[in-house]
Symmetry: C2
Subunit: 177 residues, 2 copies
DNA sequence: GCGTACATACTCGGATACTACCTGTCCGAGTCCGTAAGG
DNA sequence: CCTTACGGACTCGGACAGGTAGTATCCGAGTATGTACGC
């Protein structure tokens, strides 16, 4: 019962990308520098969000980068969690009730056992709660708690500095950390 | 986002122990044999249920074993999951928004970020759903789906064969698998 | 001056080591039972 | 016959290896850019 560390990074990145102008992209290196994490490791998670699931779009080559493939209001926290952690439920029923000496015939176990049902029901509640929250909601919530707008201002400054539209202007050198 | 395999074993064991007569105990070896799992490994989890949390009571020595420390109606699935997986939430907020170059002063981050709040809220829903289900409910549910009572009969046969009250009778040899 | 071709540098993508946790196992401390000796 | 002491065996408890998934990193494939050359 432990989520990977990349989930937090991925959510923050997606939230940041939601502030991009239409068509603009941001490189993984810039995202990693902004959050103070390893570039190579962040790439691993961004790939999971782009190739496997279709949450992000990628633009290769110089002045390439990542961009949301859907509006922020159409991306839920559940989408990101499932993309990174896999679709399999956390609770895995090994049907140990069928093991041991002289087990009963299989026909007695047509229905999944009540324990697995209860565990999976709880997990459905968890996922439903995550599916209810979209990236747009998260960004709105962050802005609400950011009374003087300092945090939002930092994000906007980052975006205006590092976002770029493929096919226009010169790629700025990444600011040294 | 993956629960350990021992969670299922522990829940099945507790459900089985709920059928014991008052004061009787069952050894870990018998429980492991009934479920077809490793004795030593099951012991590891049973210890977590007995020493750390107080869900199970232990009786040492010959004809010792495990027994519920509380009524089955007072033990929830959440109690077992937390005992085995730890009390820490699955989502860990590393506050990466405070990292990176020229971070904002700490006073801007007095409140936890909205992302962590949303993730933890979903986890509270998960835990609330698990806390709502007690072992007594699980056993009742198992009996309801067990139309001809074959599964329950197997459990009862096991209990009458392997349960024992400390200070009475001879310890029966464990049936070979 | 304009168009084209090329070398360049930057980007993402997948393949490769390292670490921590979960899984599985072992041996030791403690306790109760059964037996045997003694009164 | 009853009491007492002892040996034995069984139990749980904590300490010890192995395997798998997460973490961190590296190098290679691909592409748009910027420049230089030719017309």
């Amino acid at each position: 019962m432990k989520l990977g560390e990349g989930v937090e990074q991925a959510i923050h990145c997606v939230a940041l990308l939601s502030g991009l102008e239409p068509g603009a992209v941001v490189s993984a290196a810039a995202l990693a520098a902004f959050h103070g994490v390893s570039v190579s490791y962040l790439l691993k998670h961004l790939q999971a969000l782009s190739s496997s699931t279709g949450l992000l779009e990628t633009v290769p080559g110089p002045r390439g980068g990542y961009r949301l493939a859907r509006p922020a209001s159409a991306i839920s926290l559940l989408d990101i969690v499932l993309a990174l952690e896999g679709l399999a439920p956390a609770f895995r029923c090994a049907e140990i009730r069928q093991r041991g000496p002289d087990p009963l015939p299989g026909r007695y176990f047509a229905k999944p056992c009540g324990i697995a049902a209860a565990m999976l029901k709880a997990e459905r509640a968890y996922r439903a709660e995550l599916a209810r929250v979209t990236i747009a909601d998260v960004v709105a919530g962050l802005a609400a708690e950011d009374s003087d707008g300092a945090i939002a201002a930092r994000g906007c400054a980052f975006l205006t500095l590092h976002q770029r539209r493929p096919g226009q202007g010169a790629a700025p050198a990444l600011k040294e950390t």
